[in-house]
Amino acid sequence: METLFNIVVFPGMFYVLAWTVLLFWFFRKFMAALHKRVGPSFNGPAGSYQTLFDLSKLLTKESITPDGVNPYLFSIMPLLAVIVATLPTAFIPWTPDVYVIPTQYGVLALVVLIGIEPFLLFLTGFGSNNKYSFLGGIRILTQMISMETAFFLAALSPALLFGTMSLGEIVEQSSWLSFLILFPGFILYFIALLGLLEQPPFNIPDAEQEIVYGFYTEYSGTNYFLLKLAEFAEFMAVFAGAATLFLGAYKGIFFDGYIFFFLKMLLIAIVMMTIRASTPRITMKQMLNFSWSYLVPLSLLNMAWVLMAKHFILGVGL
């Protein structure tokens, strides 16, 4: 019974759907405020039904499969992308009680599942038989290779500090002091997150002005809905990863609870959106250059810093 609840409601399908609808709405509303606009407004309180309508509409629209594509590759990939993007929710300790798979290798599972996602998106671009989609696919692959190295290294720093791969234990052990020690790691994680989620200034794979919509270009209707769902589930996985690894997940100021987890994820989303509203896109070459000459070396340095801090500040033997 509990497993069923976990799969269907929290933190399973319903939760991911609700998150998608709400985050999509929040993104649009927040972005509108930064644009000096209002954003969705007339459908429901503060326009909050708008994204529900948008996503429901996509379900009932015609799903075009263009001529000359491999229909299986074209239609299965969005579904796979959603499944893979949703899986990390099972490994994350949402509250002290809801922790579906309390495995010893939580960090590894999170990192691997997040890491596979761009490859699936590459295949969607590859299967679209469109020059722009293909370019988008190639771009996402390039970006994945360079950004994920830094992402993995940054995500591993808490595991190194606490000496465990279990997300539950990392949360248990985290404190204000550990947050300070991990702060450089958090910054690196955040920058790599922008690259991984294709947010400005690294929104290169789906750069509208350059390659139309990247790998999304040929998708419509239900398939596009699935890809959007995967995108937002991916947002959730990465935000939740940041909250769990660095910010102490559900730990609060006076009491513990999911609300703090949610607020931490929201905080990351707000910072991400503010960057989005004020930073133009850079090019592929600049991204590669930035990633390999600065981000990756810094993440390596960060690991050294974490080890040193563990030894000298926490006083744990190496």
């Binding site: 930064l34 644009h35 000096k36 606009r37 020059k131 722009y132 370019l135 190639i138 400005p200 200034p201 929104n203 290169i204 750069a207 509208e208 002005q209 350059e210 390659i211 139309v212 919509y213 509203a277 004020s278 930073t279 133009p280 896109r281 850079i282 090019t283 592929m284 070459k285 600049q286």
Partner: protein
């Protein structure tokens, strides 16, 4: 000017006269064209503004007009020569090898009038769609009605040509490499109605061939069907972003032929309205620059400011954009003082937002990383390709028609060239913002002046705005230049005797020259740079195609 006269006297000159103090109007024989052009080039007349044929059906001749400009001395030369009108013999030497800026202008003359240019490197039709190929639509004896009768077949012709081109595209490519041809536009989020045929190898661009003419409305032909006042409807649709200044250019040409001097008040109103219009265009230009890099915030903020300036235009003329506010003889409406309150609101709005935009967007570090080294145009290229306006000034070339050849009341306005040094995409953004501030300053000056003169009783804002211009104009010819928001617009107006409508109006619009640069600038760059460079060149498809 004397030097030029002396230099030209080596050639056989049919007539020569000084025109409007800045211009030397020279008529030569068409065989001497290349030699005279060489002399002009040696004298520093490197930029060619445009090539404009005029078709005189009754006199059975085609008159070629060349407008050469010297960016250093600001003196210009207007070269005229006759060639036979007969389609077989309608030939002249091409000056493109000498003046690369003439390239597309000669192609345009070829597609519109059938003038063939000997020695032109790439004489293909431009702007016109496939159904007009080899048909010379702007000649006076072209039968438009007969052409229109079979619209469906004409469209079929365009479709067939497109499909054929797509098939040929793939054939010539190296199958073992990643070469391909991308159609960048017209259904593209950043392109607008233009198609760039991008020949690229993966992300690297090998060459670009712009395909233009998607909004070709044949404006230059349209005006000949309207009377002199009605023509402003066509002229202002050159590009809606800044329509006032193009109307000013046309009206000045009409007033010159009619020999009418407009009132001082109307001159100041032209300055005021023109600058408001320039602001509304520059605000969108800055937005377009950032939209090309995927950042819409500055576009939105500028749109917010722009609305207030459009409010002023609306209170003045009743329309937000299609104002039709400038007419031969002055400005269309009188001024009521509460309209200026509307303007004051807009100025306050700009002053309140200006600092934010400057700190966040004009000095944006990521933008500098992205754009500081891209799309560089040297001062030399500016001259040889006759670039103008924002693009030219960003490369450090000091040209601005408002200062060089002051029109309306610009002679009394205090202003200076807004220039940058390097001519990169980033510099063009800085120039745009600099000019935005400059326009605000000019508006403030004009507003103060108008208010003071009304106070003194020198201006009567409800009566002074118009002087009468006769409906029928004498035979004549005039050119007028204005500094449009994108650069110099040159209007060449020809009228017949007792004419009710223009005989020929050539509009030289700046985007045409700027688009010509795309291939040169984008070769060897990557796909990511297309929107950036395209956006920074501040191109409007409206005046590109006309």
């Amino acid at each position: 000017m004397q030097d030029l006269r002396k230099a030209l006297s080596a050639h056989e000159i049919l007539s020569v006269e000084v025109y409007k103090t800045m211009w030397l109007k020279v008529r030569i024989d068409s065989h001497d064209l290349l030699a005279v052009a060489q002399t002009l080039k040696d004298e520093g007349f490197i930029a060619i503004s445009t090539v404009s044929p005029t078709d005189f059906l009754e006199e059975d001749r085609m008159e070629m007009n060349y407008f050469f400009e010297n960016y250093t001395t600001k003196r210009n030369c207007w070269l005229k020569c006759d060639i036979p009108r007969d389609i077989e013999a309608c030939e002249i030497d091409s000056i493109t090898p000498m003046f690369p800026g003439a390239n597309w202008h000669e192609r345009e003359a070829y597609s519109m009038f059938g003038v063939r240019f000997r020695g032109h490197p790439d004489l293909r039709p431009i702007i016109v769609s496939q159904d007009f190929y080899d048909k010379t639509p702007f000649r006076k004896d072209f039968d438009w009605d007969a052409h229109e009768a079979n619209t469906v077949e004409n469209i079929q012709q365009i479709v067939d040509a497109f499909k054929e081109e797509q098939e040929i595209n793939e054939e010539h490519l190296d199958a073992s490499s990643s070469e391909m041809i991308l159609n960048w536009g017209p259904t593209h989020p950043a392109s607008g109605p233009i198609r760039l045929k991008v020949h690229c190898d993966g992300e690297d661009i090998i060459s670009i061939d712009p395909d233009i003419g998607f909004v070709w409305r044949a404006l230059e032909h349209l005006v000949t069907k309207k009377d002199f006042v009605g023509a402003i409807v066509a002229v202002e649709r050159l590009c809606f972003m800044d329509n006032i200044n193009s109307m000013v250019g046309y009206c000045q040409a009409v007033e010159e032929i009619a020999d009418v001097e407009i009132t001082e008040f109307a001159k100041w109103m032209r300055v005021l309205l023109g600058e408001v219009s320039r602001i509304s265009s520059h605000a969108m230009g800055m937005g377009g620059f950032y939209n090309a890099m995927g950042l819409h915030t500055v576009g939105m903020w500028n749109m917010d400011i722009r609305e207030y300036f459009l409010d002023f235009l609306e209170s003045y003329s009743g329309a937000r954009i299609a104002t039709a506010a400038i007419e031969p003889g002055g400005v269309r409406y009188g001024l009521q003082m509460n309209m200026l309150d509307e303007l004051q609101k807009a100025l306050d709005k700009f002053d309140a937002t200006k600092d934010d935009i400057k700190t966040i967007f004009v000095n944006n570090p990521t933008m500098k990383v992205r754009a500081a080294k891209k799309g560089i145009i040297t001062a030399k290229e500016v001259e040889s390709f006759a670039l103008c306006g924002v693009v030219a000034r960003s490369s450090g070339v000091k040209i601005d028609v408002r200062i060089d050849e002051p029109y309306a009341a610009y002679a009394q306005v205090k202003m200076d060239y807004v220039v940058q040094k390097e001519g990169s995409a980033k510099d063009r953004l800085s120039t745009l913002f600099g000019e935005l501030e400059q326009s605000i300053d000019i508006i403030k000056q004009a507003k103060r002046h108008i208010e003071a003169e009304i106070e003194n009783g020198n201006f009567n804002p409800t009566k002074d705005h118009m002087v009468k211009v006769p409906k029928k104009l004498p035979k004549g010819e005039a050119i007028s230049r204005v500094e449009w928001s994108r650069g110099e617009v040159l209007m060449h107006l020809v009228t017949d005797d007792k004419a009710k409508s223009p005989y020929r109006l050539k509009m030289k619009a700046p985007s045409f020259n700027h688009t010509m640069m795309l291939n040169k600038m984008l070769q060897g760059e990557t796909l990511s740079d297309i929107p950036l460079i395209f956006g920074s060149l501040y191109i409007c498809q409206g005046d590109l195609d006309r």
